[in-house]
Symmetry: C2
Subunit: 300 residues, 2 copies
């Protein structure tokens, strides 16, 4: 567990770097900084609101440690006395419906029995799916993965499809990306490989999003804005009903404002909304599915 | 279980009566009617949107039956082969922040081993709490309760305080009302008493709300409207994170659009909103607590 202090320092620096780059791309607002310290550990919640591009966004860092409880033992199937965990978690919501919502998480979890693992991923949730853009996003993510292991992209892309899914809607949250957990250093990949993998994700995150933020110059209609509000309603549903991290945070008496900063500034619900045949809404709905091969996607 | 068909008929008629009265009070929009039929049973979802007073509201009726599963046995601590259940569930959200959100549920659950019970209640969620109005609401609810049993109001008022509570916010959802469940006919109260109790709630519901809808003539500011949006965010949190009915409905593969019609048309989240000292927002926050004696409330 000793090296976790160093990993936490790296994550903390990456948090600052992400915020600097997003501030530059936004060009208007800066991230606030709320340090918190509890018995369990400490963190830094950084929030940007009412920016030029970003309507509401957060980049959170935390470093916690504690007793490895019976409940954790049961869930994780590991035996230990103490644990420590550190990570960055970020969600950025834009005002313009043509700029997607993006999410990053990188985390490291260590037990005092020498077992440790990485988890995280990046995924994208456009209100209106533009296939060329979705393919571009997945190619970027695949490039990061391929630098470390040829199996990462196919495995973790599938994992994201399964995780970012709303069973009660039979829809994916967005176009996915990658999701992984319990990724332990082993003969297949050493600690350094995995650390490099998560660091590269944290470094690529603001660069990828800065590109997507350029869509902010694109004009939009009332209809597109209303659709964005409905899609944000789904984002809220996923985070409050399905997301294990949010559930765990709320149940374990975490910092509610830091956990729920992931929710959009506004969201809407309309009873039984039906997309018109051939509309942009219907086209997006048809792409909120698992197992779409975005890498093999060919523009028509 | 034979009489449940008759109870379902009564509930179905009460649903129609509630809708008629709310339509009259709204004066603009009518409730739509969506019949649904599944293997499990049938229902009628009635929704009103963009009314003069009601921005979004629903009055749902359902009558379902099926095998009494092991899971239900464990949760309910009863042994039986089959169950049947019927009920009305309603939530009405207004556009004007001075008109509260109201909620009614009445339900009857019967097992084929002759065990059966009632559940339900009425509760109120104002965006801005006006103490005189809250006291008036509670007196109305107490009057209904007292007609049937002197213990109903104190017991079920406490139950509502405990149920309509967001632990992660340490706030009640609104000013409460009554909540009860597993209320079985017994020597203390016969079936007829309990049936009368829930019928009277369903009859009083539109009358009480028609009174509150009169607040719609009251002008409001941008600040009050924004506060309403934040309070609606809490309503969404409660329904998606804490409400057992919603959770059960979504997990048991229920009709998602009918279940989530309870969500407001719009909601908002702002990071770490702090009410200014002495503001109406702060005064409302101070009243979002359990164990407030609204009956003993004296206007200053």
């Amino acid at each position: 567990m000793e090296n976790i202090v160093q990993i936490a320092e790296t994550f903390s620096e990456l948090q600052g770097e992400i915020c600097r780059q997003i501030e530059n791309a936004d060009g208007k607002e800066k991230f606030s900084s709320d340090k918190w310290e509890k018995e369990i550990g400490n963190g830094l919640t950084r929030v940007i609101q009412k920016g030029n591009v970003i309507e509401k966004g957060a980049v959170n860092f935390s470093f916690v440690r504690g007793k490895f409880s019976d409940r954790m033992e049961n869930i994780l199937g590991e035996k230990a006395n103490n644990y420590a965990a550190t990570g960055i978690s970020s969600i950025l919501h834009s005002g313009n419906p043509w700029v997607p919502t993006i999410h990053l998480n990188v985390r490291y979890f260590a037990l005092d029995n020498k077992v440790s693992w990485f988890g995280g991923g990046i995924d994208l949730t456009p209100s209106i799916i533009v296939p060329e853009e979705a393919a571009w996003f997945h190619r970027n993510i695949k490039d990061i993965c391929d630098r470390f292991h040829p199996g990462f992209y196919p495995d973790f892309k599938k994992w994201a499809d399964d995780y970012y899914f709303l069973p009660h809607r039979n829809e994916t949250r967005g176009i996915g990306g990658i999701f992984f957990d319990r990724l332990k250093p082993c003969e297949k990949y050493e600690f350094e490989t995995l650390m490099g993998f998560v660091v590269d994700q944290a470094k690529a995150y603001p660069l990828i999003y800065a590109e997507l933020m350029k869509n902010n110059t694109k004009p939009y209609t009332e209809k597109e804005k209303r659709w964005q509000a409905l899609r944000r309603g789904r984002y809220v549903e996923f985070n409050l009903v399905n997301d294990r991290g949010t559930k765990f945070g709320l149940e374990s008496n975490g910092n509610t404002e830091s956990i729920l900063v992931s929710l959009p500034a506004t969201a809407a619900w309309e009873y039984d909304f039906k997309a018109e045949p051939g509309s942009f809404e219907e086209k997006t709905m048809q792409l909120l599915k698992k197992e779409i091969d975005w890498i093999g996607f060919q523009a028509k």
